[in-house]
Amino acid sequence: MIQFFKDVRIDWLANRRAFIAVSILLMLAGLASAVIRQAVPGGTDAFNLGVDFKGGTVITARFLKDRPSDETIRARFAQQGVGDAIIQPTDKPDVVLIKVPRLAAAVGEGQPQPATPAQPEATPQAQPGTPGRPTPPPGAQAQVDPGVLKVKQALDSFGPAEQSYTILSTEAVGEVAGRQLRTQAIAVTLAALVGILVYIAFRFEWSYGAAAVIAVFHDVLVTLGIFSIMQWEISLTVIAALLTLVGFSVNDTIVIFDRIRENLRLHRRGTLYNVTNLSINQTLSRTVITSGLVFLSVLAMVLFGGEVLRGFSLALLIGVIFGTYSSVAIASPIMVWWQERIDAAKARPGQRGAKGQTGGPGQPARARKARAAGGGTGVVNQPQGAGRT
């Protein structure tokens, strides 16, 4: 039998201060990156938000003949009045991503277009205030923003479409939709966290649920921090990755909590501290194997999944690492600390006799009893019992 971990006896909780310090440092680094980037004028934004959230246009184009250099492309765009186009190479040499920030709708004057009579700007009241201003050209109003047309015009300067270039995909998001998607992403994440909190509180106790959710929140913040530091783009799919990470991290935490619940039943004399250490050690090989396998499949996604999934898989890759780490290093210590305080608070007024007190769902009531009998924390005293031979 191959086994990675045999009879581990690590006192994880003894390192809780170090763990939490590391996490706080990571979160502070992310926060500092976000705040500094946002505050420094002319610099980058806190997060490199994609068109989904910021509005704007992204066009993926393939050059069929010679691929012009990034500088040439940028220069052609500048001629079209799009000074801040971002040209981004992809893993295929002839394919480029062209990102154009949201343009004000009025810039699109003089499109050589057939006189389409589609001119939705029709409020007669609007007219007297703007004497002499030409009405927007036909079709300009039909754009999410004029970015798509501008990009096409700039590309046309390299030769006709379908002969010298072809557009593989277009994404254009208006400002309102961007704002909406942003609010929605935050709302969905928070709602998912609340749902998880309630379920864990129902299956375990509130302290368990809170600890798990704090740990997950930590994972999300650290991942976002890394995205801010690295200036990786945050798109809708990255948000999906963050929500997956929420599920994965809680998944990992629950495996440990489940074991704690079971062990509290078996080792009635063990302290919560010791039982938690024991449970982490018992599930360690599962934790490592599962996380390792998920890590591998996500890595396959990073390497082979293509450009479109890159942001998603990167976020998930980081998420798997921190999701695993936080179950051991954040969720468990917080749960132990919290539960000990609750127990201490309950033990004080009603003395030891207060054991019966409602009891909560299942085992944690015994945890209180167990702790009261087992005395102080901090001593590594692995209870010998099932699971050891």
């Binding site: 191959i2 004057e109 050589p112 277009q113 006189a115 009579p117 589609a118 001119q119 939705p120 700007e121 029709a122 409020t123 007669p124 007219q127 007297p128 002499g132 036909p138 079709g139 999410v144 798509v148 072809t166 557009i167 995909s169 994404e171 254009a172 998001v173 208006g174 309102v176 909406q180 929605q184 709302a187 709602a191 998880i196 379920y199 799919t237 948000i239 999906a240 929500l243 997956t244 929420v246 599920g247 998944n251 629950i254 489940d258 599962r286 396998l293 998920v294 591998l296 499949s297 996500v298 396959a300 996604m301 390497l303 999944g305 293509g306 479109v308 999934l309 699971g387 050891r388 031979t389």
Partner: protein
């Protein structure tokens, strides 16, 4: 476990597997022999799995109905109604206008307050005062739109726009379009998906064509004097004003002098070049509007490449129009499209039911305008908020990349499980492959759409599914170490791990459900596959895997003292 029981388990698994496999790769009609050749299977696969636009290519458009414009217009119309009502009851109007700053109101101020009640009664005949609540202060009556009416009218405008867009889409002949309301209840958004469409520009222009046609009286000295135009809107306003106030029944609108016919075929010359913009004053409300149209056609004007639109009026409209033209011979009439005068003509004789819109139309733009006129006017302008178009080649690339990544992920996981758990690893591999088959079958059965993020969900499911096996196997190992017999270690391993598996699955499903219910587009596709994968996993990783263990131990019989795990 009894043999009979085991047999029942095997039959169930076999049936589920075969049905699942057939659902995915079999034809969903009476099967033919040719359906089971590789080509046949490939075709069925293509039919069964609905690919999202990001995989098969196509265009995804989110548009918003500018409901605020609709309500503004409504307030404006009501202001003219109130103005007329005041005159009808003999009150001297000093001010009648719409006020749309922070809410929708229209108001009338009279010189003396004596006729206010009468005025309100008169307005009540035409305007629903449950929607527009009147309040009186001094000599002014203000009708304000209530919040609930605002919501309801907004909704109605969106629904109406939806129907019109639907008829336009059908008329233009886009293949397999899907149209649906989008976003929150009061976001007034409509989502249009057009698979296979690569350049949505024409459709986009066609859909937003407001096509608000109105035939109006142009305020001008009668023919033979030329029509009265103004070179700036200020001039026009000054001419139309009475005592510094713009009357509510007059409107200043731009008038682009009729363009010269295009000679260059379908490519019009620069539209900005030859136009001289003028302004005219027109009477409100219009004599007839686009809702009275019975038909509209694009016709070649000179038999050449210059097009115009001829239209006919319904009997009710024709009656109104005939009466008005009959009593206004010599006056100027304007054809107003979307708040802009397209052409002006003086009335030679009574006109009943037909007219034309000339302008500078190519065949395509005339056809498109006729189409939108036939489908009716949009209640409010429409703006595009999101456009995502994926070409078919990128979609192909994405499918290939997704399949590649899935296979590599699956391969790595299988290799590890076989290496680490030896014989029992086979168990996990069977469970994994079955999971994939059943998940795809579930996708097909609920007619879900497979998107690129959906493929990511599949890859993640591989990772999460194998977790259940790892949990169980690790637990069996632990139980074995405590000295239990193999069968009871297996039994205990499954029983204990099952509690954890339920908890982990439920939490992941909870967070995925939020994604599914509140997420949009790519996020939704991801949640669908993940949830399906996890549900299926309860069957494959627990039930199937357990059955294989039981069968294996039964085979060994009493000699079951070792287990390859």
């Amino acid at each position: 476990m009894k043999k009979k029981n085991l047999l029942r388990r095997f039959i169930l698994i076999a049936v589920v597997t075969i049905v699942g496999l057939y659902v995915v790769i079999g034809p969903h009609r009476r099967p033919k022999l040719s359906d089971f050749t590789p080509v046949g299977i490939k075709n069925s696969l293509k039919d069964n799995i609905r690919l999202g636009l990001d995989l098969k290519g196509g265009s995804h458009l989110v548009m918003r109905v500018k409901v605020e414009e609709f309500l503004k217009r409504l307030a404006l119309t009501n202001a003219t109604i109130a103005d007329k009502a005041a005159k009808d009851v003999g009150a001297k109007v000093t001010d009648a206008r719409a006020d749309t700053s922070g809410g929708y109101r229209f108001l009338v101020t009279t010189a003396d307050g004596a006729k206010l009640n009468e005025l309100q009664e008169e307005v009540r005949k035409k305007v629903d005062v449950n929607d527009w609540r009147p309040t009186v202060s001094g000599n002014t009556v203000t009708w304000a739109l209530t919040g609930s009416a605002e919501t309801r009218l907004g909704q109605e405008a969106t629904e109406q726009a939806y129907k019109i867009i639907e008829s336009r889409i059908n008329a233009v002949g886009v293949a397999e379009p899907t149209l649906q309301f989008h976003g929150a209840q009061n976001s007034h958004q409509i989502l249009l998906q057009m698979p296979g469409l690569q350049d949505p520009q024409r459709v986009k222009d066609l859909l937003v064509g407001e096509s608000r046609l109105e035939l109006v009286h142009v305020v001008s000295p009668a023919s033979p004097s030329p029509v009265q135009t103004y070179s700036t809107p200020e001039e026009a306003t000054a001419a139309a004003s009475q005592g510094g106030q713009m009357p509510a029944n007059k409107l200043i609108v731009p008038y682009l002098d009729r363009d010269e016919p295009t000679t260059a075929g379908d490519t019009a010359s620069d539209p900005n070049a030859a136009k001289t913009k003028k302004w005219v004053v027109v009477d409100q409300p219009a004599v007839v509007d686009g809702s009275e149209l019975s038909r509209a056609d694009a016709v070649s004007r000179t038999g050449g490449s210059d097009y115009q639109i001829t239209f006919n009026l319904k009997p009710s409209g024709a009656e109104k129009f005939g009466a008005w033209t009959g009593s206004n011979i010599g006056q100027y009439m304007g054809v107003m499209l979307n708040g802009e005068i397209k052409s002006v003509a003086f009335i030679k004789s009574q006109i009943n039911d037909s007219g034309e819109i000339s302008g500078r139309f190519t065949k395509q733009s005339a056809d498109d305008l006729a189409l939108t006129l036939r489908s009716g006017a949009l209640p409010a302008p429409i703006e595009y908020q999101e456009e995502r178009t994926v070409g078919p080649s990128l979609g192909q690339d994405s499918i290939r990349a997704g399949v590649e990544a899935s296979l590599v992920g699956l391969g790595l996981v299988i290799a590890f499980m076989l290496f680490y758990y030896r014989g029992s690893g086979i168990n996990a591999v069977v469970a994994l492959i079955l999971n994939m088959i059943l998940m795809m079958a579930a996708l097909v059965l609920i007619k879900a759409t497979l998107t690129l993020p959906g493929i990511a969900g599949i890859i993640l499911t591989i990772g999460m599914a194998v977790d259940s096996n790892v949990l169980i196997f690790e637990r069996i190992r632990e139980e074995m170490r405590t000295g239990k017999t193999i069968p009871s270690a297996v039994e205990q391993g499954f029983a204990r791990a099952f509690v954890t598996i339920i908890d982990t699955h439920v939490t992941t499903i909870i967070s995925s459900l939020f994604l599914f219910v509140f997420g949009t587009g790519p996020i939704k596709g991801f949640a669908v596959t993940l949830v399906l994968g996890l549900l299926v996993n309860l069957f494959s990783a627990v039930y199937v895997s357990r059955t294989i263990f039981i069968w294996h131990l039964n085979q060994k019989g009493r000699r079951a003292d070792s287990l390859s795990i």
